[in-house]
């Protein structure tokens, strides 16, 4: 495409329209790109941003950030970056002016230009000069720790450097010592950004095994040069890291979490854990320091503890039950938005999957916790009731397994758990028992039948300890039959009042289940049938034949 002069000045209204069209779809986007080349759009945007009285500066910056990636072609990248770096320098160095060059504008500009460079400057060798210029500008900003007025700008500059380090790993490895020094000196609230930056630099050094000395500050901070091993991809790997230095650094980093926000804590831990693994730090150290976060009401902090657990399962040996209990208690916090209460139960299920089972203790614990905490309460939303009923169904599976184990071992304590499975179902279903009189399309009905399905199937398909058998059962005809029944059929006969058919189908279904699983109508199965008829069929009869 050839440049189409002359460049028409775009008014704020034009820019609003252009931005909307770019966001909307490709067709409307082409309306503009057919008249303006990418570089001319960039020039117009930058000149508007640098003007004193332009009202849409922040919107324009966001536009450039979001669409540069799709805007510039390869041969335009360097030119575009040159102009952007010049512009960001002008904005940052402009005297502070609350209207024309506010702090917010400066901060937004460095973020946008950093973002654009990362996205369009994929090839470091091509954009080497621009990258060095930008890093140098950012380092100049951050190199004023604990100064008063520009603390927020320093924090933003640290975030920019962190994104560059993330995009070009080990970019800042050679100046890690300087960054550590800055990190120690910064005492304002911006120190979070310094710490996160330093943590990422260390993370990249450790995970990529780059041989640099962190204590050494012989390489100057500015002028900044991109390290050779980043440019050429040449290896600077060595067989071993300087563990002594790195452990010292880790000791420093692990002192700082209390100043981090929950969001930053999640980021921090995701960086620290791989380092701790490589350095073979004692997992118990992390556990002692961070386990208490599980008792926070911030879901991100709770998830941080789970992240640690999944990396260091052994360190938590013996504490699984208390973690599980805490997760289920989180789901009881009425103050939390529903999605987090549901998430807590999912975490519990994921957690159970991770906990190693030793001698059936795991199942015993699940049952103990389940009997105490899984019953839905009156004011639990139906979604939560549904998930808790799933957990009760899971308890039933555990009880069945324990019961089978006991039977195999000749234990006489079989009757207890077996009765409890039915009781679990009975007590659990009470929470949605309105399905017995509500119309068949009610949510309570859907939840109740879903639960019944889970109890019936769960107890059958998981009663074998052999997981391959379970899988086979999952794919069996009976499974699909039940699935069809629970997913669709249940509602149709109700809707058309074909109660008789419904009962027949379910009666046949129960028999079929027994046949497929290779058992006869034993005492237990008969119990299930009684239970089923009592809980579902009888009320339906009432519904079908009102007195």
């Amino acid at each position: 495409m050839t440049e189409k002069p002359p460049l028409k000045y775009l008014s704020p209204q034009d820019w609003e329209l252009l931005i909307e069209d770019f966001q909307y779809d490709v067709v409307r986007r082409e309306k503009w790109t057919s008249h303006y080349s990418p570089l001319s759009i960039l020039d117009l945007a930058l000149s508007s941003i640098l003007r004193k009285d332009f009202p849409l500066k922040l919107s324009l910056i966001s536009f450039l950030e979001e669409f540069s990636d799709s805007l510039f072609r390869n041969f335009e990248v360097q030119l575009a970056l040159d102009r952007l770096i010049d512009a960001v320098r002008s904005v940052v160095q402009a005297p502070h002016d609350a209207v024309s060059f506010s702090s917010a504008l400066k901060e937004r500009m460095v973020v946008a230009v950093t973002s654009i460079l990362i996205c369009i400057g994929n090839d470091v060798e091509v954009c080497l000069g621009q990258l060095e210029s930008l890093v140098e500008l950012l380092l100049t900003i951050v190199n004023r720790p604990s100064h008063g007025a520009d603390r927020q700008m320093r924090a933003v500059a640290c975030e920019c450097l962190r994104e560059l380090e993330r995009a070009f790993p080990c970019l800042l490895a050679e100046i890690a010592g300087h960054i550590w020094g800055l990190c120690q000196s910064e005492r304002t609230h911006a120190s979070q950004s310094y710490i996160l930056l330093f943590t990422l630099v260390i993370h990249n050094i450790v995970t990529r095994k780059v041989n640099v000395s962190i204590l050494n500050t012989s390489v100057p901070l500015v002028p900044f040069n991109v390290p050779q091993f980043v440019v050429g991809g040449s290896s600077r790997e060595v067989s071993g890291l300087n563990f002594k230095e790195l452990r010292r650094v880790m000791a420093f980093l692990l002192e700082s979490p209390q100043i981090l926000t929950p969001s930053a804590m999640m980021e921090f831990m995701s960086l620290v854990m791989p380092v701790a693994l490589v350095l073979e730090l004692q997992a118990s150290m992390l556990k002692v320091q961070f386990s208490g976060l599980l008792y926070s009401y911030d879901p991100m902090l709770c998830h941080v503890v789970l992240m640690i657990y999944s990396r260091f399962v052994d360190a938590f040996d013996g504490q699984e039950a208390s973690i599980a209990r805490r997760l289920v208690l989180i789901s009881r916090e009425a103050q939390l938005p529903l999605v987090f209460r549901l998430l807590a139960l999912h975490w519990l299920l994921g957690f159970i999957g991770l906990v190693p089972d030793s001698g059936g203790r795991k199942k015993q614990s699940i049952v103990e916790i389940g009997l105490g905490f899984f019953y839905p309460s009156v004011f639990d939303p139906l979604a939560l009731k549904s998930l808790k009923l799933d957990l009760l169904a899971f308890c039933a599976i555990c009880l069945n397994t324990l019961s089978a184990d006991n039977m195999g071992g000749g234990s006489s304590e079989v009757a207890g758990p077996r009765v409890s499975v039915v009781k679990l179902f009975e007590d659990g279903l009470v929470s949605v028992s309105a399905f017995k009189w509500l119309p068949p399309w009610s949510t309570e009905t859907a939840v109740a039948f879903r639960t019944f399905h889970k109890f019936l199937i769960g107890a059958r398909s998981h009663s074998d300890t052999d997981s391959s058998t379970n899988r086979t059962l999952m794919e069996s005809t009976i499974f699909h039959t039940l699935e069809v029944l629970s997913g669709s059929f249940l509602f149709l006969p109700l809707e058309t009042c074909l109660i008789t058919n419904f009962i027949n189908h379910f009666g046949g279904l129960s028999t079929l289940t027994l046949v497929t699983t290779g058992t006869t109508m034993d005492e237990k199965s008969a119990e299930w049938m009684v239970l089923f008829k009592a809980s579902i069929i009888m009320p339906l009869k009432v519904l079908a034949n009102p007195v």
Binding site: Q23, V26, L58, D69, S103, R108, G148, A149, R187, T188, H189, Q258, I259, P262, A264, M266, E267, P274, S291, G292, L293, Y295, Y297, M300, H303, S310, E333, A334, L338, V339, F340, H346, L349, G350, I352, G353, Y375, P376, V378, F379, P381, L382, A383, S386, L387, I397, E426, V430, A434, L438, P439, P440, S442, T443, F479, S488, L490, F491, S535, L543
Partner: protein, 652 residues
Amino acid sequence: MAGCSIRALWILNNFDSVVFSRRFPVVERQWRTACKAENENSSNDNLNYTVYPLLPTDSELAAAFVERKKREGSARGFGIRVTQSAEGSDSWVDDPITRHIISLFINKDEERENNMLWPLILHMKGHYCILVLPLVEPQHLKAYAGVCRRSDCGNAIGVPGSLSSLLFDLPSITGACMVAHAIGDVITGDVVEPEVVVSASPSVGGLLDSLTGSIGISGISTRTKPVAAPVAASTTSSTAVIGAVTSDAPKFGSRPLDKDALRTFINSSMPFGTPLDLSYSNIFAIKVNGFSSSDLPLPDLKQPAWKPYLYKGKQRMLFTIHETVHAAMYDRDEIPDSISISGQVNCRAELEGLPDVSFPLTGLNKAGIEVLSFHPCAQVPEQGVDKQAVMFSPPLGNFVLMHYQAFCGLGPPVKGFYQLSMVSEDEGAFLFKLCLMEGYKAPLTMEFCTVTMPFPRRRVVSFDGTPSIGTVSTTEHLVEWKIITGGRGLTGRSIEATFPGTIKFAPWQIQRLPSSRSFLGADEDSDFETDSTNNMVNVEEFLMEKMSKDLPPADLEEPFCWQAYNYAKVTFKIVGASLSGMSIDPKSVSPLTCDFHLMLKFNCSHDVTRRWVQQLNWFEYGYICKECLAILIHSLPLTITFEIRLFWIFLF
């Protein structure tokens, strides 16, 4: 293991148009890089599945959202697997969380198999739908696509690749949920800090303005954007009090989207898409006030990111205990009432520097606390709380120091009886007999108490009746009885209140079910028990039959189908002490003495009928559980009589 990064977010209005979108190119670059690596290896992959590498445009996203809405019955979706659930869709997964964490198919008409966008956090606030797309690994997306096609429904517990395992492995989803909620609060202006009540005393000074001035942030009180009113005064008028306590109601007004506030929040809270701080109060305070050279940091301590400003001025600490009671009462000797409490301790610490505060938890032992969760600033030891004390380093402004769930030592503050009996198809007689504050001694004071009888599906034509105390008013769909009004609180004694009356409704009209009925498999033209009218033995039975035909299914977010019951809501406020027994000893909070004030909120339900249980001919098949008994009690069949379905809710 990744932390949390956001690829993009969209806000849609109630016409399903995108009114705001934001993409984070740096995060998107990570996604594309991961996709490239994944797709290069996918030739060896059994799934032979390539992941969708691009973000949709706004129009593509809106179209996909509308398509899902049609397919899944509503914006949230079915949540559990139903007849209409298509294999590969969210409801096929058969998990209610798929109403909050959804997938969209971009350009579905193109029949590509790789057009799934997941996980999108869906948060609905006011008239807006907020969609937040966090970064996950392509393999996670593939795993979810697999979960959507599993034949077995629900959670496959302990199976690798199950939905629960994914949610456990993906903190980015948790973070994205937090982002969605924070954005929801920003766009609806619902960013109020927790309430801290201050006793009116000369030392407090000019309340709000002087308090905000005393924070030491110049100009903070001149904020024009929705930020916290830092302190609420107990001397405010009763109207203001009512307004304050009912602030939980969604603000569904036609407030236009404040895009500037939104951009400010997003640019500061996650400049590159990775959340750094989701506190709107902090972000807005920094935007408005900035920093000056005179704001010197402490010489020896690092200032936390969650406390950008330090307090200067007179030092004090304020605490407010705030409790909501959920109660189910049965009026039956053999079944104990069930009352549980959700409480929180709100705090405002006006302390210079960065002190650690020791907060005694001795009150908790008496309170029968079941669950206890703390603000992130609290330092909870590894084994959890030892119930002696907890240390915390307070942030600036009002914050919730802890949440708790507790059992209740006292009886319900409102006991009573409510019965509504339909004497004809459109006319009913009702009776209230209430006892307020029985067993409640000073300083517990009931400031106000109002009973409302909502009739969302009937139009009230006329009403007749006089209560023994208070005033009555009606609107089209409710009757409101104000028993105690502001200004005359009830302290140190109990009162009885009765209210007999009759109510007449407009003739019942068949209402088309909202489309949600068909979501759960009902054919809207079906004739559910149509010819049974001849068998009806009384008018109530007949009426119930008619009304149940278009009873909409409850949302999964509701505890039950409210519209299936006749109930009364009682709203009231009690101040003076906590119901749980939770208390704070001002002398034992270090380093300073504190001023504290207590406020209670109640949320009770009460089923008061005794007779119906005997009439319930299938009661023998009911199952009674201590915790869930109320549901059994409430779940009366429509085919019996109207008055036995009484359901009394005290809601706050």
